[in-house]
Amino acid sequence: MNTQNHILVVDDEIQMRRLLRTTLESAGYRVTLAENAAEGIRNAETHRYDAIILDLGLPDIDGIEVLKRIRTWAQYPIIILSARTSEEDIVTGLDSGANDYLTKPFRTSELLARLRSSLRIFQSSAAPMAVITVKDISIDLDSHEVKKNGEAIKLTPTEFALLALFLRNAGKVLTHNYILQQVWGPKFEEESQYTRVYVGQLRKKLEDDPNNPKYFITESGIGYRFMGDE
């Protein structure tokens, strides 16, 4: 990571800002700090960052609102930090365009991993590929062939669409709503049992131990994450 990615940290707690600066700088990032929403938005408008780490509990404007505003022009990763464990807030954040989330207290290693993964997905998503390979699973988007350890696996069209979605977003949290919209269409947003059933199917076909999944990870009450190289 010598490219010196520039990260904007928006948090109202001075202690958290100082800690994040130290953590991120020691990991080789350039860091700018903002102590409230207004300053954060102003910074985001005037500079180009590679990613934003955004606290949801801001004193002046609600973090979700900040997220939505920045998302109107910025495509780069935004990771939300929240002291709220309320799943609703996180799901709203993710559905409003956040790339990932962390709840306080979090481990620094976890934060760095998420940041790295988000940056990589963003920076490599330019060239769509016909064949995606993640670990021992490979998927050919043209011929609809799926292989695990070189062995062909038979998937139904829906399972294939779901798997393709996961692989394209390896490492990223996908909310139930997002998955339903992408795979089944906007009318199916209420049918949340679909994702559970089909993820269960994929686990049976692709996981070594479906009861203890390594690829298709459940994010409590939020959605799923396909674990890539981490």
């Binding site: 979090f106 049992q193 009861n211």
Partner: protein, 880 residues
């Protein structure tokens, strides 16, 4: 009028049939063992049937059996469970009645209740035993009962004619129709008399007296015929019902409707019964009409009207009351309005001098309606007594009106010589004509007579005799008397009519004023106040109101503005009314010993309250007042319902506000607590990366980290507990795969469980379930954490999950030391910690797990596994 098409059942009739079926499915079933008289063996047969069903494993209980000390019968009672009778002390006499409440509490499949027509002791809840039976049926209890033909309401008068003894204990025929099954217990009169002689029927000392009075062969044959015919009729009726429901059209009869008039006379009873019988055999519905005229009724007549109306209602008539001066035209009008096809009229014996009888007028007006004429016979013939025509004016009125005439006559006396005696008659006539403005018919007629006599005696020559000399004076005298009487009567009649109009006007204005006041009420309290005030003023009564509580139960305390104190007994009447949505209390058949009459205030979906009304003069309301009161109650009910809905809306707003406040507070506290912990955790972690391992520094950092994690867990527990305690915890149910939840819990506790081996056994066929992912995850995590803390490293923790019927069962088991016996009970209490365990824990984890599971309407239990180790079992009902 159109004739209904021959093949299509009337939709009303179909609905009726459907309703019958629906009611039947929830109601208990009624089986009547029906006989011609005592001694036929009904009780015996009922008990035998009871033993039969009992042998099939059905729960049969004896509610009330009268064995009459017959040994065979007593032997049969022996094998059945008996609900002890209730002992009632009434004026020093101890009476025994069926214990209705005990039966309702016991709720058997079948209750045996002997002697359906029995009249209960005066302080019982219901006046008659058949009311008790109806309540049992309403509560889904099947009833076996016995009944003799002479106790059927519609047969009572016939039986009285045949046997000469009046039957006082009767049941309405409707209960006979309500029965799902009627079993006729037939016995030939010869056999019965033989049994009687053998002393098998009554105890020997009573039987002689009984034989003489009742058990004569002729009587018995007639009774037998009646019971056979009734049963046959019923079968016929059932067949018709069946054909109707199956749309069998051959003998389809169109919707006939019979109309009968109710009069204030006791003889009306037999006409009403006739109508009922005709309607039944014709398979027709019937309407009973009471036409209120301006004629003032005596108190006895009022009571008679009420009881006639009640009889008609009990016999299944639709009751319509209307106000009209012309009874015949009112009856024909209602017949047309309600599509009646036949009118039933009693053969009146009284003849009117002018005009025609009621019968004549009805026939004249009836047009295409059929008119049936039936003989009326007065039921009260046995106790007939001569009654004077009713004059309602007080003695004072008679006195004053006479006095006025006397004074007028005295005043005229000196003038008679100048004016001539004819003129005096005109003066007196004027006064008689004016009298009705103040006085009733009686005093006016008296005044007319008196003035005629005075004129004759003091003025017509020869004076001071009643002799009239000249023929023209005789003519004058007769004319004078006729004119005085006619004028007086006519004026009085107009006045009475005016009074009726005024009364009606008063009623509508009272209703209007109530409605007007109700529209501006803003709370239930105000509605109750307005109701109490208006009813008490207009009905000259003391009024009490009970309202319903938000949870649907009745408030045990009367509304504070109520006008009389309610003791426990009165309240029990009100509560009965509330739950049964039927009127009860004084002047009714249910709990008549109450001091007031209680009316249900019924909303469209649930009861809204109960209104207690006690007239200050202690009298029963007239038909008129009763219907006005019903109107009042209807108005009050709709307003109360409006207010209850408003209250609900208000509460919802308050609740939402408090939820919002709570959320804000909760979020800010959790933010304040979590932020410093987050700082400590990430700082110590950052520090650890910068220092070398196996140094003192690293040990310090590890200590900081462990402490921070412990603090973090404590904060999380306290926050969870706060959510539980606040009552704001509403699970957000969504489809979940239990495997996911268990995995998430395990992931959360990766570090704590690193020393243990965890086995997961989740049934392959376990379906998705609607759960709150976070809450169940936390509950399972807390149980796992508990297991990890209380078992030595290296032991196995097992998580099992499966579906059992409609319940999800999750078991978390370890093979550690298990719980000490005394700890099992207290395990889920807040802050409870098993004595002697190591420190580091708040004792909140398990009670939080319990709270979260209970939020899903589930249960959680702890036990020791027989093979050792602690076992937690979570059971959650599955959402459909």
């Amino acid at each position: 009028m159109t004739t209904p098409s021959e093949y299509r059942p009337d939709p009303d009739a179909l609905l009726q049939a459907l309703k019958k079926e629906q009611e039947h499915s929830q109601r208990g079933k009624l089986k009547i063992f029906f006989g011609m008289c005592a001694g036929a063996g009904k009780t015996y047969d009922m008990l035998k049937s009871a033993h039969e069903v009992k042998s099939k494993g059905i729960d049969v209980v004896t509610g009330y059996i009268e064995t009459h000390k017959r040994p065979e019968t007593e032997a049969l009672v022996a094998g059945l469970e008996i609900i002890p009778r209730k002992k009632i002390d009434y004026r020093g006499v101890e009476l025994e009645e069926m214990d209705l409440d005990a039966l309702l509490q016991r709720k058997p499949a079948i209750a045996l209740v002997d002697e359906l027509a029995h009249t209960n002791a005066p302080t019982s809840r219901h006046a008659k035993r058949y009311h008790d039976v109806l309540e049992l049926l309403d509560n889904g209890i099947n009833v076996y009962t016995t009944l003799n033909v002479q106790h059927l309401e519609s047969r009572a008068d016939t039986v009285a004619q045949i046997t000469g003894s009046i039957v006082r204990e009767t049941v309405p025929d409707s209960i006979f129709e309500l029965a799902d099954e009627v079993e006729l217990i037939d016995i030939s009169p010869e056999d019965l008399l033989k049994r009687l002689e053998e002393g098998k029927v009554y105890t020997p000392d009573r039987s002689k007296h009984a034989i003489l009075n009742f058990f004569q062969k002729g009587n018995l044959t007639a009774l037998r015929e009646m019971s056979l015919r009734l049963t046959a009729e019923r079968v016929d009726h059932q067949l018709r019902d069946y054909m109707q429901s199956k749309r069998i059209t051959d003998t389809w009869k169109s919707g006939q409707r019979l109309l009968v008039g109710i009069s204030p006379s006791p003889s009306s009873v037999s006409v009403i019964r006739w109508a009922r019988r005709m309607a039944y055999t014709m398979n027709a519905t019937w309407i009973a009409v009471y036409v209120e005229t301006s004629k003032v009724l005596s108190d006895t007549a009022k009571v008679q009207v009420n009881s006639n109306i009640k009889l008609a209602r009990e016999l299944g008539a639709e009751i319509i009351t209307t106000a009209d001066e012309n009874i015949a035209s009112a009856m024909v009008r209602i017949a047309h309005q309600h599509n009646a096809t036949q009118i039933l009229v009693g053969k009146t014996t009284q003849r009117k001098i002018f005009g025609s009888t009621l019968l004549d007028s009805i026939i004249e007006l009836s047009g295409d309606l059929d008119v049936y004429v039936v003989g009326e016979h007065d039921e009260s013939t046995t106790k007939k007594k001569f009654t004077l025509p009713e004059f309602h004016s007080g003695i004072l009125q008679y006195g004053i009106s006479s006095l006025i005439i006397v004074i007028a006559a005295l005043a005229c006396y000196p003038l008679a010589n100048y004016l001539g005696y004819q003129t005096v008659s005109l003066i007196l006539l004027l006064i008689v004509a004016l009298l009705p403005l103040i006085f009733g018919v009686g005093p006016v007629l008296l005044a007319a007579g008196l003035s005629a006599m005075l004129w004759n005696f003091f003025f017509i020559p020869p004076r001071f005799t009643f002799i009239i000399g000249l023929p023209q004076d005789i003519l004058m005298f007769t004319m004078y008397f006729a004119i005085a009487a006619v004028t007086g009567t006519l004026t009085a009649r107009i006045r009475a009519r005016e009074k009726a109009v005024r009364l009606r006007e008063a009623h509508s204005s009272a209703l209007f004023s109530l409605t007007k006041q109700l529209t501006i009420t803003k709370t239930q309290d105000e509605v109750a106040n307005t109701a109490i005030e208006n009813i008490s003023r207009f009905f000259a009564s003391d009024v009490t109101i009970f309202l319903s509580q938000p949870d649907g139960d009745i408030f045990t305390l009367a509304h504070p503005n109520s006008m009389y104190a309610v003791d426990e007994k009165e309240f029990s009447v009100a509560a009965w009314v509330y739950w049964n949505e039927k009127k009860a209390g004084k002047f009714t058949d249910t709990l008549p010993s109450a001091s007031a009459t209680y009316y249900p205030i019924t909303g469209p979906r649930y009861p809204l309250g109960v209104l207690g009304v006690r007239a200050r003069n202690g009298k029963q309301f007239t038909v008129d007042q009763e219907s006005l009161l019903q109107n009042f109650i209807a108005q009050i009910a709709s307003t109360l319902e409006r207010e209850q809905l408003n209250d609900l809306a208000r509460r919802t707003v308050i609740y939402a506000e408090s939820e919002k406040l709570y959320k804000t507070l909760f979020n800010s506290i959790s933010h304040e607590l979590r932020t410093p912990i987050a700082a400590i955790v990430s700082a110590s972690e950052g520090l650890r990366e910068k220092i070398q391992s196996n140094t003192y520094q690293q040990e310090f950092v590890d200590e900081i980290n462990t402490a921070a994690e412990r603090l973090n867990r404590l904060v999380e527990n306290l926050l969870d507990m706060t959510r539980l305690e606040s009552g704001q915890l509403a699970p957000k149910l969504d489809w979940c795969d239990l495997r996911d939840i268990v995995n998430a819990s395990l992931k959360k506790l990766e570090k704590e469980l690193s020393g243990h081996s965890v086995t997961i056994e989740i049934a392959e066929d376990l379906p998705l379930m609607k759960l709150d992912f976070g809450l169940i995850e936390q509950a399972i995590a807390n149980l796992l954490h508990n297991a990890s803390q209380y078992t030595p490293a290296g032991t196995t923790i097992t998580v099992l999950a499966r579906q059992q019927e409609h319940t999800l069962v999750v078991i978390i088991r370890d093979n550690g030391p298990g719980f000490p016996a005394q700890a099992l009970k207290k395990l889920f209490e807040k802050f409870y910690r098993v004595p002697g365990t190591r420190t580091g824990g708040t004792g909140l984890g398990l009670s939080i797990a319990k709270g979260f599971v209970e939020a899903h309407k589930g249960t959680i239990a702890a036990s020791n596994h027989p093979n050792g180790g602690a076992l937690f079992e979570i059971k959650i009902p599955m959402q459909p």
